[in-house]
Amino acid sequence: MDMAVVELSRLQFALTAMYHFLFVPLTLGLSFMLVIMESIYVITKRPIWRVITRFWGKLFGINFVLGVATGLTMEFEFGTNWAYYSHYVGDIFGAPLAIEGLMAFFLEATMVGVMFFGWDRLSRLQHLLITLGVALGSNLSALWILIANGWMQNPVGAAFNPETMRMEVTDFAAVLFNPVAQAKFVHTVSAGYVCASTFVMGVSALYLLRGKYTNIARRSMMVAAAFGLASSLSVVVLGDESGYALTDNQKMKMASIEAMWETEEAPAAITLIGLPDMEAKTTHYAIKLPYVMGIIGTRSLTGKITGIHELVLTADARIRSGMIGYDAVQKLKGNRGDLAARATFEAHKRDIGYAMLLKRYVADPRQASEQQILKAAADTIPNVPVMFFLFRFMAAMGFAFIAYFAMAFYCASASQFSTRWFLRLAVVMIPLPWLAIEGGWVLAEIGRQPWAVDGVLPTFLGASSLTIGQIWTTIIGFTALYGTLAVIEIRLMIAMIRKGPIEHHEPTPQAGFAPLPAE
């Protein structure tokens, strides 16, 4: 494998995925907030709620199209840049992507057209149901994507088939109800809701600070404060912790987040802050809090948390076992009926992925030297300092958002959102959820390295047979295109916010808010 092709493919995937995920969280959250706002309109029949729904709907639309446009790249990018990955796990990984299209994308994309163009063609209740369809569709789409991603972190319900040289599904229910996927789904959509709530709070605060559209801004803020408080609690409480004890790689992820080099006696201490050192394999200046890690990590006082050194030893043993399995696969290639090789394969198939880590150093893993085995085992440690600091950043943000929305509640009841320092804070808060969310993805994906699929397929083996020139062409192309679109999108958002919620097309603006024909 040409490592430059691998690294460039990773760079492009990271760029396009992180760019795509600038738009997704707002879609996830704002769609449900539109449902809440429109429900209030349907129940109270007060036209101001129609104006509120339509206004946030417009901002939703500007954001939504870029999510759709950049999502297209993601659907194709596994095939274009990760062809061997697509072959190797497509039997399992392709299914959630296809179901996402059938069950979720069709719903959200078909309904979104009626949501924007159907205001005058539908009854109030019908239109609300359409908006609900958009919200359900976008959130279901997140469910299927996280089932796919959860499988990469914890590949359940599948086994290697030497006849087809790939992983094949053995238990589809296990893939669906993968606990890692479930935890990730709740965590990710809740983060999206926090993002949208913060956005609505911030934009409304701008209006209140300038004394414009205060009726609309106060009501929007109320909805956002309630939705945001519930969601920020959900992000932290139902966070990503569960499932960290399931596989060796997940254990490694937790150990590196905590920069825990040695296995400690249960219950383990948590390192609040320190300076992890990859070279010396230790954490300098660590400030520790006893017991806490054991309780968070295992939900018990007796559960042990395995340290990095011990996990590397486990990897070493699995590489050696995998080399035997790999040898059996090569024998089966020559003779499908070789019963002895078949039996050896069955005994060692769980570890074949580990043997493939050696391909970075030697073309045929069976020829690996002791030195190379040690190197491959050490490769299973992800970038500890990045993990350590990103996690602390994300956790701090999580608690900050709970405090922020609790404060919003207090300001709502105490001063009807007229506390100016709080309004200024709300504006400053707008970009923070995006930082936390992108940080969360980097943490999840860096933490899985060196694997594309935990214990199954190393990332460097997944790439396509492309040239460096081809990948640079598309990286430059995507960067230029995406960069231009980002500038245009932000300008349009700002222009739309400046213009405000009052529509000059309204049939009788002088009479306040015109009732619909249905009223």
Partner: protein, 382 residues
């Protein structure tokens, strides 16, 4: 788990479903691409452009999902095809993606400012977002017919030995043009259904007629080229239709004229190329008799017939290799596992009818012709 359908049957069903998805995409998003390609030619001033754009504005998002679903379903049911074609046609895929990314943004952003320069730029983006994908999809199909330069090693890692420019040959340019004329005919058919009588409709009829005639000529010419060049491949040796999905375990070889084999063996398949020829003529008839539904049905049949012709000619091949025939992907060696095919079939049987039902309902809610008066008054129009 007991699977009530055997592997061979499921592979056949998924081959047919692959066709359904491609046809679904070409029938629905096909007219969006066609209308976008027509935009600079049928609409001269801003109001005409807005009229044209708003015939497809509420629909294209849902239609594009056929393409996304196509990608996902090929990934799930034909992972080899997904991996080989998408990475092999790498830069062509990028061209399609980049132009398709322009499209949603152009729809949404075009009318947010009244500045004519701003709008003209987005109109160009829309044109590119319609024309380029239409052309490249056709070129890709042409390349599938002649085979792509790829081979597998014993780990089934694929190596591709072609380039972007290598994709463009006289034959593939012809299939590319056919794709454009067919989708332009279809787009003109949609405009005939959706816009009021006027300048836009008159121009759409004129260009639609020319495109329909060109479609007939190009389709016939394409058939002649396939026959003259003797394109085709045949399976060799014993074929295990329920065997493992491993191209290296089966054998095939180039065989002159083999893409015509199936029509001799199953004469009913001739229906597909017949539709490919009759469809555009029917569209032409619809235009000259001012029957919009006949015109739209004609362009739809043309698309159906053309996609089905490619499938019927090549069966059981899906993506032949031009440099290493034994690496060729067929219905019998490139699918996902028996269990995955079955699960995906169950999911499709449940959800596809639901999708079709609400798509039809949405079409009904948004039905009716669009007029210049609507464009001037509706606050929701782009």
């Amino acid at each position: 788990m007991h699977i009530p359908l055997d592997y061979e049957t499921l592979r056949l069903i998924w081959w047919a479903l692959l066709g359904v998805l491609l046809i679904g995409f070409a029938l629905t998003d096909g007219y969006d691409l066609g209308v976008a390609s027509l935009l600079p030619f049928v609409a001269r001033d801003d109001e005409e452009r807005r009229l044209t754009i708003n015939t497809i504005a509420p629909h294209w998002e849902g239609h594009q999902v056929w393409l996304i679903l196509g990608g996902g379903a090929i990934f799930a049911a034909w992972p080899f095809v997904y991996a080989v074609s998408f990475s092999g046609f790498y830069l062509a895929m990028f061209l399609v993606l980049a132009s398709l990314i322009l499209r949603p943004v152009a729809f949404k952003y075009r009318s947010k400012h009244s500045d004519p320069a701003w709008r003209a730029r987005w109109d160009w983006a829309l044109f590119v977002g319609g024309f380029v994908p239409a052309l490249v999809f056709g070129v890709a199909v042409g390349n599938v017919l002649i085979g792509a330069p790829f081979s597998f090693d014993s780990d089934l890692r694929m190596t591709y030995e072609g380039s972007l420019l290598g994709l463009f040959t006289p034959f593939t340019l012809l299939t590319g043009l056919l794709s454009v004329t067919m989708l332009v005919t279809h787009g003109a058919g949609w405009l005939a259904l959706k816009v009021e009588e006027g300048a836009v409709l008159r121009r759409a009829r004129r260009i639609g007629s020319a495109a329909a005639i060109a479609s007939v000529v190009l389709f016939a010419l394409g058939g002649v080229m396939v026959a003259k060049a003797g394109m085709g491949m045949r399976l060799m040796g014993v074929v295990d239709a329920s065997g493992p999905s491993n191209p290296l375990m089966s054998a095939s070889a180039a065989a002159s004229g083999a893409w015509l084999d199936n029509y001799a063996a199953h004469s009913w398949m001739v229906l597909a190329p017949a539709l490919g020829l009759i469809g555009p003529m029917l569209a032409l008839l619809g235009i000259s008799t001012r029957r919009a539904w006949v015109q739209f049905a004609g362009s739809s049949l043309a698309i159906l017939g053309t996609v089905a012709t490619v499938g019927c000619s090549m069966f059981p091949f899906i993506l032949p290799s031009s440099i290493d025939p034994k690496s060729s992907l067929t219905v019998w060696n490139a699918s996902s596992s028996h269990l995955t095919l079955f699960i995906m079939l169950v999911v499709t049987i449940i959800f596809l009818p639901i999708v079709l039902a609400y798509t039809a309902w949405v079409m009904k809610v948004l039905s009716g012709r669009i007029t210049l008066a609507d464009v001037r008054t509706s606050p929701d129009f782009y």
